[in-house]
Amino acid sequence: MSKFVDRPRFTCALGGALFTLRALPRTIPIIHASAGCGYNVFSAGSAGAGYLGGGYCGGTSWSSSNVVEREIVFGGQDRLSEQIRSTLDLMDGDLYVVITGCMVEMIGDDVQAVAEAFADEAAPVVAIPTPSFKGNSYEGYDMVLSGLFQRFTRPAAARRDTVNLLGLVPGQDAFYKGNLTEIKRLLTRLGLRVHTFFGEDETLRDLQGAAEAAHTLVLSDVYGVKSAQTLKALHGIPHTVLPLPVGAAQTSGFLRAAADALGVARPVAEAVIQSEETRYYDYLERLADIYNDVDLQRYVVVAGDANYAPAVSRFLADELGWLPALTVVTDFLDEAQTRAIERRFDAWESGLKPLVRFDTDTSSLERYIREAWPPSANERYYDSLSPTVLVGTVFERDLAARFGWPLLTVSFPVTNRVVLQQAYAGYNGGLTLTSDLLTLLVSGR
């Protein structure tokens, strides 16, 4: 059974669905819900993702049936039908997707049936139930993506060189687009064609052609797995789950695993890795002086989602040479997912392992810090958790201020930064993360 959450670091299924659709080119969502649902998750999701905005539609332009008491009593299907008709007349898109809020699901509106009546329209109209009492925004991503694979993707012959990339949730990952660009750049260097669906220069053809892929890579132990299973069930595409790679070591590992999964010859992969690592260390070498001259090693406390928390912690330990004391994973996870994430903290090259905790409540972090590091008992000599950097969400700001720790916000919500094309994944992501963290430390110089 689930519990209440102290400042949730996610929104609801409808929110995840809307920001997933927002990331698809020329896609028009039609919200079948109360009048405030869309605006609420827009306000949350845009600010929380470093001011992502509402995209092509614009958040306040999202078509919404705005059901009120009368529809809740008598049913909302007529209102939805009217809204789909008027949306098709007014808004210019290539794909129209009806998604639902809690109330219309509770009264049992048959949105599929309503959408099917629009089968002869020039652009496809599909309906995907996304009730928020069945999941948060991460699950909304899988609901909508699975639904689109089912209703929009066309059967096709598999191409050996084509791969689908899943697991980075638009909006919940404020850096999703930069991350996809970087991963796609690397896979392209392996000679692959890549569908990320939400990346630069992609169109709805990528989504329509998802069945051409020979394989799906899921860069997450949690998100996107259900969508990959849908692709497998419908089109027989196998998938491999890999962790989100941050920095040189993890990314080189990722490229080897991807090459193996897709039948790319190892020497091809090694040549790419060699050239990427050379470039990477050409930049990192710049820091050899300042890092050592003024001692930029830090303890670190990490709070973040199931993608970022393990990946960033490991990067900080194994590449930046920092000392992760505590990592809190802030998602709701089932037992299998929890075990999978726990394994990501095993066998680090540095030999380090932070205290790992799974907790959705913002106020819990402070308690775990005391658990990870004995608090001062007014000893004359006290080995304190210092100097420390906090890598988390904007919800950690008060805590960081109280402890006097610099804070870098990486995981949702990220309201104190403007995020554009930046990435934390891949080789480029490792450079950006290093630059962002060390900038915090030299900003007074």
Partner: protein, 502 residues
């Protein structure tokens, strides 16, 4: 007015006959309201617009020493994510030690939809009390618990016995009303029932009363006014209104925004409650009069020199200070005229369209007219009686377009394309649309800027000149970022999707 025995206030469609869909002119919208034919309209196309739950956060998120429990599925109240920084910053302008914005979500899931969410709410209340020790725990109730029949009032009554914090349920389920401003009534309803009561002072328990102290207090109360602030105003706005009222030798207390629980008790020790905006606080002020016999003033909003002067004169008349007010206003106007002179040449003849809350757009239009600008259109979130006094401050607007629409940018975009204003003055959330039309935009409100009083006129003038001086950002965006509407839409009647019905 006394609705406090009911669980929830009546919705504004019923209480005020407020309308949310209309297209015509300023004269026509006033006639339509007078004729009672405004509030039975809807749309065959609509866009997401906010609800009374999200709007209730506008007040709730400002209260100090409070924890909020969003009672609903996991997304309800998520919009507070956008307010974590600003809420703390603005609270700290009132109290440097104020905490940040803390909320829980009761996270109703599929099992709760069947079995009820009362147990989870109780758990959340216990956690909030134990972890944060707040003075107040506010519980906005969303659609789902209302539909499954959670008895939140009963849970609150039961839990209050083991909870030190005052528990304030706010019944603001989004699906209950199309007029999202009903949110204000919901919040005040909760505050009136749980927080408003006569303060108990130690001095009141003295065996021998201190008569001199009593006289002093009564005198002080007789010169104290409560000004009902709104979350869209700023600390600089409050400073300006305080300056003006202090000049009349009146003491000022602001509530409800950024108050703590106790402030609602001491607020009863005042001579007059003054509304900033009737749309926000009429429900509260009527009840304070009925229950505590405190007179109130609901008239215009002190934005623009005429509205500010009218607002001051109405207050002054209550205290028999009319001559003092006239002298103050005359000196303020003279200083303002001198200050505005350098700005007039750049602004004269420019055209503007204003969108947002009915009271605020009309009052802000007074500033623009003062600066020699021409109003080409209005879009009000809804329409009801509170707009009417503000109309009196405007010259020659009978034939100016008036659209009633809560957000609904598709109507705005069609209108703006026809009317081609030089400036759009708009409510937050619509920036995206105006940007893609290449229009410079002045936010209709902003909690760090001064809009109110005489200084507000100067600040708005200064900002409009600045904003008009360089609109390149939006111009470039407009060149590269398409709008999502079909070309055919711009040829259609902008009000084609409004239909008459219940």
């Amino acid at each position: 007015m006394n609705y406090l025995s009911a669980k929830t206030p009546p919705v504004r469609e019923e209480r005020l006959g407020a309308g949310i869909a209309f297209g015509g002119t300023c004269r026509e919208v006033q006639c339509a309201r007078a004729g009672g034919c405004l509030n039975l309209a809807a749309r065959t196309f609509s866009q997401t617009q906010g609800c009374q739950f999200t709007l209730s956060q506008a007040i709730i998120n400002t209260l100090r020493n409070a924890v909020i429990i969003m009672h609903g599925p996991i997304g309800c109240g998520a919009s507070s994510i956008g307010a974590v920084g600003t809420s703390q910053t603005f609270k700290r302008l009132r109290d440097p030690n104020a905490e940040g914005l803390i909320w829980l979500n009761s996270n109703l899931d599929e099992a709760d939809v069947i079995g009820g969410g009362e147990g989870k709410l109780k758990e959340a209340i216990r956690f909030a009390e134990r972890m944060f020790r707040p003075e107040t725990i506010l519980i906005p109730v969303s659609c789902v618990p209302a539909l499954i029949g959670d008895d939140v009032d009963a849970v609150v009554a039961e839990m209050q016995e083991e909870t030190a914090a005052a528990l304030v349920p706010v019944h603001c389920s989004g699906f209950k009303t199309k007029v999202m401003a009903t949110a204000y009534d919901d919040v005040y309803h909760g505050i009136l029932r749980a927080l408003v009561k006569k303060p108990e002072r130690r001095a009141d328990r003295r065996v021998v009363p201190d008569e001199l102290e009593e006289v002093r207090r009564r005198y002080r109360d007789s010169r104290t006014v409560n000004v009902l602030n709104v979350s869209s105003m700023s600390r600089p706005d409050e400073t300006e209104l305080t300056r003006l009222l202090n000049a009349l030798d009146l003491q000022v207390r602001f509530l409800p925004c950024y108050s703590d629980a106790e402030d609602f008790q001491y607020a009863l020790e005042s001579a007059l409650n003054v509304s900033i905006c009737g749309t926000h606080d009429d429900y509260f002020l009527h009840h304070l009069q009925t229950l505590y016999d405190i007179p109130f003033l609901i008239d215009t909003i002190p934005i623009g020199r005429k509205n500010t002067a009218r607002w001051l004169r109405k207050i002054a008349a209550h205290f028999d200070l009319s001559q003092e007010a006239d002298r103050l206003i005359a000196s303020e106007e003279q200083a303002l005229d001198e200050a505005l002179a350098p700005f007039r040449p750049a602004l004269r003849g420019k055209t503007a369209f204003l969108g947002g809350g009915e009271v605020r757009i009309l009052a802000t239009a007074e500033i623009l007219q003062d600066l020699g600008m021409k109003i080409v259109g209005f879009k009000g979130h809804h329409y009801d009686e509170f707009a009417e006094p503000v109309f009196e401050s405007l010259d020659d607007v009978d034939d100016v377009l008036f659209n009633v629409a809560t957000q609904q940018p598709f109507e705005q975009i069609n209108l703006v394309k026809r009317l081609r204003p030089d400036l759009y003055v708009g409510h937050s959330g619509g920036g995206n649309i105006s940007a893609k039309q290449g229009l410079p935009l002045l936010p209709l409100f902003g909690p760090s800027y001064n809009y109110m009083g005489f200084s507000g006129v100067f600040e708005v003038a200064r900002r409009i000149r600045r904003i008009l001086a360089n609109a390149q950002f939006n111009k470039q965006l407009a060149r590269h970022c398409p709008l999502p509407y079909r070309d055919s839409w711009y040829a259609q009647d902008p009000f084609s999707y409004i239909k008459a019905e219940g």
